[in-house]
Symmetry: C2
Subunit: 364 residues, 2 copies
């Protein structure tokens, strides 16, 4: 028996036949299929053309038999209709040409109706669902040689803190000096900005669910730059609004960040059925911190997946994580952050197999 909904069951902490596994950034540059498309299109073109976004979304599902698809998109997309001028400079990551500096800049950010200005993303959601439902998936690789049924599709968005950090810093950052300085200097402007972002993100995620996303993940990738007191005051209310509205749709919600060891209880308070753990947080310790009434997702170090280490070393690490989960319902295997460029596809393939092989429950 193949359980096609083992990912959704695990989100709800129901027993599963095998631990579900997918990878953050599972579609991307490390795959030849992706690079072939990327050679002809910019990142923003792929994101804005639904057929390309759908195709790229399906590539890792076909190649590895992962238990969930995740929409190919960028967390910064909803900033564009808000009025942010965004560019993906080669080798530099995102560059924002009009970073937010003043209360007037915040006031000028436009509200967004995702059905209008992010319609291409919603169309990609519909395309992927249709593709998965009607054709099923013929995986090019599967250990038992079975044909898999369609795995569910995860939608996602960036959380307000992480989005705010980009539009204040003007791009990636090491110390988040501008974002934190604003919090400390002008909390009113900070909250105005976060409130606007939260409104857009909540509507965007709900629209993805309405278009067919069967779960969603909120990426607060950089929130671990903060300590718990700052998180509680400057972030929690805004993430909570989003997580509450999305949960009301009934789909499972994953709440993810990195460097969050001291934030975990507050992230759980903010919301989400599943809390994402990074590799710094041992899975059992992290699960105890968020409580047994949450599911958890994680947490192999992306560098362990990238490293050309002997296969037994990779296997040892995968098993250690599964052992920490101890077969308790509610574990979704993933990395602690996204797949890194240069990761060998054979490693990705191997980890999917290892997780599925090793996690077969013992027969009572």
């Amino acid at each position: 028996m193949e359980m096609t909904d083992r990912f959704l069951r695990a989100c709800r902490r129901e027993p599963v036949d095998r631990t579900p596994v997918w990878f953050m950034r599972q579609a991307g540059r490390y795959m030849a299929e992706y690079r072939a498309i990327r050679a002809k299109h910019t990142l923003l073109e792929i994101c804005s053309q639904p057929d390309l976004a759908a195709e790229v979304t399906l590539q890792p599902v076909r190649a590895f038999g992962v238990d969930a698809a995740i929409l190919f998109a960028d967390i910064l997309l909803p900033l564009i209709p808000m009025g942010i001028q965004l560019e993906f400079a080669a080798g530099e990551g995102p560059v924002i040409h009009n970073p937010i500096r003043t209360p007037a800049d915040v006031a000028a950010l436009r509200p967004v109706d995702p059905r209008e200005s992010l319609g291409h993303v919603l169309e990609a959601v519909r395309l992927v669902r249709r593709e998965l439902e009607y054709t099923g998936v013929q995986p090019s690789h599967h250990p038992q040689g079975l044909v898999l049924n369609a795995p569910p599709l995860i939608g996602f968005a960036g959380a307000p803190f992480t989005l705010a950090s980009y539009i204040l810093e003007g791009g990636s950052s090491r110390n988040y000096v501008k974002a934190k300085s604003l919090m400390y200097r002008d909390p009113q402007m900070w909250h105005a900005l976060m409130g606007k972002l939260a409104r857009v993100v909540a509507d965007y995620l709900v629209a993805q669910v309405e278009a067919g996303a069967q779960a969603v993940q909120l990426f607060d990738s950089w929130v671990g730059a903060l300590g718990p007191d700052d998180y509680r005051e400057y972030v929690l209310p805004h993430s909570q609004l989003i997580l509450r509205e999305v949960s009301a749709t009934g789909v499972p919600v994953i709440h993810f960040g990195t460097d969050t060891a001291t934030l975990l209880p507050l992230m759980k308070e903010a919301g989400g059925d599943v809390i994402g753990l990074d590799w710094r947080t041992p899975l059992d310790w992290g699960w105890a911190r968020v409580g047994a009434d949450s599911a958890v997702q994680g947490n192999l170090d992306p560098v362990a997946l990238l490293a050309e280490a002997p296969r037994p070393e990779l296997e040892r690490r995968v098993r250690a994580i599964l052992d920490q989960a101890a077969g308790r319902p509610g574990h979704i295997f993933n990395l602690g952050h996204g797949i890194l460029p240069g990761t060998p596809v054979e490693n990705v393939k191997a980890v999917v197999e290892m997780v599925h092989e090793y996690s077969v429950p013992e027969v009572a």
Copy 2:
């Protein structure tokens, strides 16, 4: 009464008249006095000319009345006599022209007698001690207008993981891909490299103590890139060797890292009288994790010191940290990491005053 040794007493968890305060990177670009010297000399010149290094070391002591001086040096200095070609490129941080790639590269790293090849650093230690002992310190600013006696001098070095990360990556890093990949791919080469680094660092710190350093800090600034299992296997034995040898000299030892919430018990196991906490770790929570038989140092967010926020906001943050220490002996006030460029000197001055004013113990 002024206690000139309140820093050393706090390291030993003895009662103090006021909580001692100093700042990582308290000498540096944010001070006009430093920029005046830096305008005429490169960073490596300042580090290698004992009179310049001593002068820069004393600048923040005179300016702010901090409770400890810390030698002005760079954690990468001991790599130079090992054979590493190091350059501080303008605006880019350190660049290493011959990063370690093969076991032969590790074998070629030279042993170091710090009394010979790092004699300029030891001479700077002697100069600072002499200056402090014979002349005392006439602080240009002190809230009560008192003349302070000489505060003690802290020596320091980078820990093996942090040094290894630079010489493997070739400079600063975001994901530590090369360092971690080596661990996973070739643990033997990794341990050979770490063993060589640990030998040099231990000898270097002991030599600093012999030259007059009254305490030392081991900076494992980037070790928080690892989870606890990797820390235990790949880092702990090497840091432990250093911390054991330095502790045998009898001076207090501070063991510092950032992003270490899940590593704290293991860092304590590795050694050190004082464990440094970053701002992500609430001081009381972190202290409970390392245990009441350790002192702790920290942990104001460096961005809170930099931000041009209203003074009451800064004061609120300083008080919150002191309240978490709850007057328990063994707290040294500091940032959670080094002072950032652009930090206003008035903020630094103000925090020294706040800590001293607010931490006067209640009379029984």
